[in-house]
Subunit: 363 residues, 2 copies
């Protein structure tokens, strides 16, 4: 696969990660942080996961505000493969721009789009799955990867598998469905035909742009114009339609039988909140049920379980937790968060509150 | 009462307040802190409460390590009324020393001993009660104040009232009893004869020392020797018996019918842990069920109740609590504590843990 010079990874590095506040901030979002205790940020781990497949054929699309941080974290990324959006225009503009840049370089280019802030446990299985997806993409499909569900999650959209496509693992996509409620998610799992939608797409650049031109001709023309003349960025970008790739291309293409899904079971997680972050960490030494992101030697527990993120900004500062189960404690220099693990999603409410107060210093 | 030149307040300012860690530290114990949000430390509030009765006739007994802090907090306390213990020798040595100093000044001195780290809601009622106690003390009794229980508390000792002594509110003490379990505490309350023992004693200095001489002659001789020649402090102090005033005098004197109790109902609290600290504070503005000691503008809650003590060491640092009921969050520059309110007593376990690790920097 490394030899396939047509395959490029496209890494949209965006998203505020508000449910991971106060670690994730607008000025330093989730993908720039090491949230798994490995010493590598989620962005760096994404690079590490993809480059065995792509070599240096990686294109990163990020906000202008984060261009310098991304370049610093990825010193091997060539400067002309880092696209900086003047402002967020949702995923279709970001991936479409990257597709147009690749199409101009190589009309046979196949791109795989993988978010910069997800975690994957079994990287070999992931790469094998992407290789299958590339094969299907070369046949002209928009290929998505359908993650084997490990439970009736309500935080993700689902993909319903249709008939197998040929001999490989690819299936047709019968439909994409939005985040379900619990009982509907359980019903999906019971059928055995549903997979999680991790927002991964593998497709020939030209196929993607031609499909886009079918339903959103101005957006397709806009990103192709950008690729032809990068100096027009500031002029063209603000006029691009703001739409997600799912709605712009994947859903209408599925209705036309143009979308394939390759099932994958490689331990994917979007690290959506501190509860899922905790699930990715091992128990801290000598503290059963306690997961620490950072220096565990600064944590003391008495009859407590949960997730602790020490600040790490001052030597010897101690975090002590007593008599609480499944509590999340996140300490940063200018903000401290305490939340029950089952309410980890509601951290967003604090961010909304601070936003309404104009406390941009904390966002 | 202000005119009674024989009455002196003795304020033992000791105790580590380990259940209030990390606010209370060995180097800066509970009594030096403003734990009620009034702008006055518990020690200063004790001074404010007593001086309307005593004028400047207040003797403070504290550890040598805290002498400077006590003097700084009580600028109106004459230097020769601040006794500094070379090392802790329990309450009998501390109060006995003060009694001996007063006896030497005035053979008719009546002392009232009141801890430096308690809180009283109705100060007028408190002073009226002390005035009654002084009257009984002048008749030769060891007088204690029996707090009207507001519930079957298991954290305090109890005093059982006997027959009334004359026309006043004073009763004989039938017995002192140790901290009971819950069902015994409920049985005590049902009788109507039991009061909380707040460790307040009012007694003529000479009566106290003579009773002490009866059961602990060396201790009585030791503190009287100190009063006669303060230069012998370092020599005499280490040899003094380490015993609480309750065991040394109050209990044996009660058995001999020498102890009286004056009932009091003035809203007393020993601020023993963060749960009782929370109960002394009003709800923070706009945050029902949330008590904040410090700057409430730094606290944000979403579906949460409890007690928050912000650090106050850095401008704008925010404490956010989400989806937790009855949680206690205490932030200090070098230690952060999160505990469920019903486990507030167990904070001591963290202090014990740090002590066993030799982390004296945090104690």
């Amino acid at each position: 696969m490394t030899g396939d010079s047509h395959f490029w990874a496209v890494v949209p590095a965006g998203g505020a990660g508000t449910r991971l506040w106060p670690v994730s901030r607008a000025s330093s979002p989730k993908f720039l942080h090491d949230l798994t205790g490995t010493g590598r940020s989620l962005l760096q781990a994404t690079w590490d996961r993809l480059t065995p497949l792509t070599g240096s054929q990686v294109l990163v699309v990020t906000g202008a505000a984060h261009r310098a941080a991304v370049a610093a974290q990825l010193p091997d990324l060539p400067a002309d493969q880092l696209l900086a959006e003047p402002a967020p225009r949702d995923s279709m503009a970001a991936i479409g721009w990257a597709a147009a840049v690749l199409e101009a370089r190589d009309p046979s280019a196949v791109l795989g789009s993988f978010a910069a802030d997800h975690v994957i446990a079994d990287e070999d299985a992931f790469r094998a799955c992407v290789t299958d997806a590339v094969a299907a993409a070369e046949q002209g499909y928009v290929v998505t990867i359908g993650i084997e569900p490990t439970g009736p999650a309500t935080g993700f959209g689902y993909i319903e598998l249709g008939e197998p496509l040929g001999e490989g693992p690819a299936h047709a996509v019968r439909q994409f469905v939005e985040k379900p409620d619990r009982s509907r998610a359980e019903a999906y799992l019971a059928t055995g035909r549903f997979r999680w939608n991790a927002g991964m797409f593998v497709v020939r650049a030209t196929v993607l742009l031609d499909l886009l031109a079918q339903w959103h001709p101005e957006l397709a023309a806009g990103v192709r114009a950008l690729a032809a003349d990068p100096s027009r960025l500031e002029q063209v970008w603000p006029g691009l339609e703001k739409i997600a790739i799912d709605h712009a291309v994947a859903e209408p293409a599925a209705a036309e039988g143009r979308v394939a899904v390759v099932p994958g079971g490689f331990g994917w997680d979007d690290v959506g909140d501190f509860s899922s972050l905790g699930a990715l960490l091992p128990d801290a030494s000598g503290m059963p049920g306690v997961r620490v992101l950072g220096d565990a030697s600064s944590v003391r527990v008495v009859d407590a379980t949960g997730v602790v993120v020490p600040s790490g900004d001052r030597d010897g500062r101690v975090v002590a937790v007593v008599g609480l189960d499944d509590v999340v404690v996140v300490d940063t220099p200018d903000a401290l968060l305490v939340v029950s693990r089952d309410r980890a999603q509601d951290v967003k409410a604090v961010v909304d509150l601070l936003k309404s107060e104009g406390r941009t210093d904390l966002l």
